[in-house]
């Protein structure tokens, strides 16, 4: 088992390299970060020349990638524009833990830029994940047990609608209903902007209250999809022989369902939940923009539009690492749960 884990981790490393190269090359050709540094007017030509040189953007792509990877403190760069390379660089490169500094918030280390926003996104995602797991389990099991009842059909229809909606439509509808219409009708209404109300301050209650709508929007799609998936898995499991044996042995229904059936149905659920991370992150991007939630998704959108390469690469790599990590964790949990599975 340990060998398997180590193997997977080692396999992940070339993967990260490939990802970083693909993304870096894409980012290089996306536009000009200096274009918007002139404020409201076109950047002056003397500034453009100087900034291109100072930010290292005049180097060919592979040199820029090299500097990003292993830094440039071993190389000489030309800072004062006289064509002679005289000063040492100051970057140590990703492999030594230096993610660089942001081009937009000049001077601010990328780790700090991301670190300030990461917890906010984690908050949304973990809360959504819990609601998705618990909710879809309940609904899926209930629906499986009452197969073909009217309630089951209703739930099925609603689930289909749930995962057919684009997330921003859900967000807009929920904003319209719970914030605007509720307010119009005098009911207590939910806030739609930000993480807390600045007049009140950043209390836990405020944050929780502001979390309701974003978490709701992110969870609906996955919740709908998974409740159907759990329902069908449960149905498949429930029709197995050992369940029939358990029932005929006279075991109470509850025990049959929750102890025997659920245990075996949980395997595909674990796989699916473990691989859901990319989807949640993606949903977070749009939701954070709509609800002005100060998280990583919004950070990504803001910095991509200003071509802040270090920050964007930092975020994308972080996500890739997280996804690979969760895949490994899922595989381990999967093996743990199912004694039939062996990796070697």
């Amino acid at each position: 088992m340990i060998r398997y884990i180590v193997n997977r981790i080692l396999q992940g490393i070339p993967l990260l390299f490939i990802i970083s190269i693909i993304l870096f090359v894409l980012m290089m050709n996306m536009g000009d970060p200096i274009a918007t540094m002139g404020g409201r007017s076109i950047t002056r030509s003397s500034d453009r020349v100087r900034l291109t040189r100072q930010l290292g953007l005049d180097q060919p792509v592979y040199v820029q990638y090299l500097y990003w990877l292993i830094g440039n403190d071993w190389a000489k760069i030309d800072l004062d524009g006289d064509g002679i390379e005289e000063s040492n660089g100051t970057r140590r490169g990703i492999l030594r833990g230096d993610f660089g500094t942001s081009l937009v918030n000049r001077g601010k280390p990328v780790t700090k830029v991301i670190g300030e926003r990461l917890p906010n996104t984690l908050l949304l995602m973990v809360a959504s994940e819990i609601i998705i797991i618990l909710g879809s389990l309940l609904v899926g099991i209930y629906s499986a047990l009452r197969q073909y009842s009217i309630l089951d059909h209703t739930i099925t229809a609603l689930s289909f609608i749930g995962y057919s909606m684009p997330i921003f439509f859900i967000a807009l509808l929920s904003m319209y209903l719970f914030a605007i219409l509720f307010k119009r009708w005098g009911l207590p209404y939910l806030p739609t902007v930000g993480m807390f109300d600045p007049q009140v301050g950043k209390t836990t209650a405020q944050v929780l209250w502001h979390m309701v709508l974003p978490v709701f929007s992110i969870s609906i799609i996955s919740f709908a999809a998974y409740s159907r998936y759990i329902r069908s898995t449960m149905l498949e499991v429930m029709s197995q022989d050992y369940i029939r044996t358990a029932k005929s042995k006279g075991l109470p229904r509850r025990e049959v369902v929750y102890v025997h059936a659920l245990k075996n149905a949980s395997l595909p659920i674990v796989t699916v939940v473990g691989l859901d991370l990319p989807l949640l992150l993606g949903g977070a991007v749009v939701t954070e923009r709509i609800f002005a939630w100060p998280g990583m998704g919004r950070l990504f959108l803001d910095h991509v539009s200003r071509l802040d390469m270090p920050v964007v690469m930092g975020i994308l790599l972080l996500i890739a690492v997280a996804v690979i990590f969760f895949q490994i964790v899922t595989d381990i949990v999967y093996a743990w749960l199912d004694p039939r599975i062996r990796y070697d």
Partner: protein
């Protein structure tokens, strides 16, 4: 056993959430830590609401600052906060006239502040200016500011106009003597916008060799304005509190709280709900709603006008070289209707690029009227006729289809749709394209405008307001393989080039006015630029604020007089 595992997973997730929540509330403490090491920290943590008696004004920004340092900031939203916590040598009032702030008087030829040949400016500082940590502000700070802007080890956003200064002498603590290479007439509009505290930053520079990573850039706890920086939580808000050591008239409002929202819709929603006192850059479509909610809407000209820039060179469509075609373009669009309907009649069509500087637009240029018949006649006369009856004119086998590009802002896309339709009515076809701002304004080799892929380029721009200086149309600025950084994506007119160069050295206002008038006339006669709508700053002020005045250059120049009426 599996149940236990599941239970453990759930509990772990809950713990993670709690930790995530914990980390989230701890984040403001983290951003305060650098504050504590540089200056006496203000005690209030982010989670406590302000004291009941404190007067707090809440402003809504739709863009978050990139940096607060005058060296590194590149956004209007960052620059305008400098009137809160930093100081400029002089500021501009609601009529955009300069008045001295750190100086005893504005230098001029009459008082000897400006030398006869215009290459030397002497400034006398007040002797009572203090930084917020009680250190006096002296000529040393001015000299340091110039040094830092022009030092190649600092990755500053723009070294202009400090790169025109050859040297600065500081004979004593209250006198600054600035020597220029050549007379620099736009000095009043561009110099000394944000003085750096040398006593704080020089040690940083000496230690690190650059100011790029200084904590002061993102948390400038030492300033010289009526307020002092308190806190900036990325993505959420920033806070400025009263400067106890302010050398001038103390402000009436105790705290300014700036809140960041992602777009105009949330800004309007917050203003309408009464959650904020001030909003900036209000879109015209939201104005009726805001007025209804009791906000006062003020427009302040800041020099900006939305217009069409034309490309007239070997890369543009051959029709662009024809003056008649350009005149037809100006006359084929019903710009009055656009202003009336899309902008709710709140702005006018600017006839001149210097529309907001009446001194330099004198006598004022006149707009080409909306006259499709005349446009048709002009095009016929120029030889562009529809010989193959496909709806667009052509000449010598070339169809009159122009490439028209702009950014993705909604109102620009609306204008593109209207323009396409109205130009089709006079037989001119347009290919419309939209780009993100950072691609649209990208330099030669990357940007469509710089590369000559567009004939008509639209955006909102200004001369060096409140100065009439322009540099786009200088022939030396033309972007080519040898000069990829050039800002001239338009054309080279030798006569115009000579006039532009001349005006930037004329220190005498009247001589300069004459030159600019000639330039203005050339622009009008040759239809080098077509104005679409004026683009003033639009502010929404809530009913609680009193004493509010705005300037087009230093919007918050009278922030100390603002008050909150309950």
């Amino acid at each position: 056993m599996k149940q236990k595992l599941f239970f453990v997973l759930v509990v772990t997730a809950l713990v993670l959430t709690a930790c995530g929540g914990g980390v989230a509330t701890q984040a403001p403490v983290e951003t305060e830590a650098p504050v504590a090491t540089e200056a006496p920290a203000t005690e209030a943590p982010a989670t406590e609401p302000p004291a009941a008696e404190a007067k707090v004004a809440t402003f809504i920004w739709t863009q978050e600052f990139d940096s607060l340092s005058p060296l590194y900031q590149g956004m209007w939203f960052s620059e305008i906060t400098q009137q809160f916590w930093l100081c400029w040598a002089w500021q501009f009032n609601e009529k955009n006239e300069a008045f001295p702030y750190l100086l005893t008087e504005l230098p001029s030829v009459e008082n000897g502040g400006i030398s006869e040949d215009g290459t030397q400016i002497t400034m006398h500082l007040r002797d009572d200016i203090k930084w917020s940590d009680n250190e006096p502000l002296t000529s040393e700070d001015f000299k340091f500011t110039w040094e830092m802007f022009t030092d190649t080890k600092n990755t500053v956003s723009s070294a202009y106009p400090y790169d025109n200064i050859t040297s600065i002498d500081t004979p004593d603590e209250q006198t600054v003597v600035i020597n220029f290479e050549a007379p620099f007439s736009p000095w009043l509009a561009n110099l000394w916008q944000g003085i750096l505290p040398s006593h704080i930053l020089r040690p940083v520079y000496d230690a690190e060799g650059t100011l790029d990573n200084a904590e002061w850039n993102l948390a400038p706890t030492v300033g010289c304005g009526p307020y002092v920086f308190d806190e900036w939580e990325s993505g959420s808000f920033a806070r400025f509190t009263t400067n106890p050591n302010y050398w001038g008239e103390p402000p009436k409002i105790d705290e300014i709280f700036v809140r960041f929202v992602p777009d105009d819709a949330s800004q309007t929603a917050a203003l309408v709900a009464g959650d904020a006192d001030l909003g900036a850059f209000i879109p015209y479509s939201d104005i009726p709603q805001l007025k209804e909610a009791g906000m006062t809407l003020t427009t302040e000209p800041s020099g900006f006008n939305e217009g069409w820039f034309f490309r007239i060179d070997d890369k543009s469509h051959p029709a662009m070289h024809d003056l008649n075609v350009r005149k037809a373009l100006a006359m084929a669009i019903d710009r009055e209707a656009v202003n009336r309907d899309l902008l709710l009649g709140l702005t006018k069509v600017p006839a001149s690029y210097w529309d907001s500087l009446p001194f330099y637009n004198d006598p004022p240029s006149e707009n080409y009227p909306y006259d499709p018949e005349a446009a048709n006649a002009l095009l016929d006369e120029a030889g562009w006729v529809d010989s193959n009856s496909d709806g667009t004119r052509d000449k010598d086998g070339v169809e009159l289809v122009l490439r028209y590009g702009t950014t993705t802002r909604e109102i620009r896309q609306d204008l593109q749709a209207v323009a396409q339709q109205q130009l089709a009515e006079v037989g001119i076809g347009v290919e419309i394209s939209n780009y993100d701002a950072d691609l649209f304004f990208a330099g030669y080799g990357e940007g469509p405008a710089a590369n000559g892929e567009l004939d008509i380029m639209e955006w909102s721009d200004a001369p060096g307001f409140p100065d009439p200086d322009v540099y786009y149309w200088l022939c030396s600025e033309i972007a080519t393989d040898e000069n990829p950084a050039g800002s001239n994506w338009f054309f080279c007119d030798e006569e115009l080039d000579a006039l532009i160069q001349q005006q930037s050295t004329q220190m005498d206002a009247n001589a300069r006015q004459e030159t600019i008038s000639q330039i203005n006339q050339m622009f009008h006669d040759n239809v080098y630029w077509v104005g679409m709508w004026q683009d003033p700053d639009v502010w929404a002020v809530g009913p609680r604020l009193t004493g509010v005045k705005f300037s087009g250059v230093t919007p918050f120049f009278n922030i100390t007089e603002w008050d909150i009426a309950e």
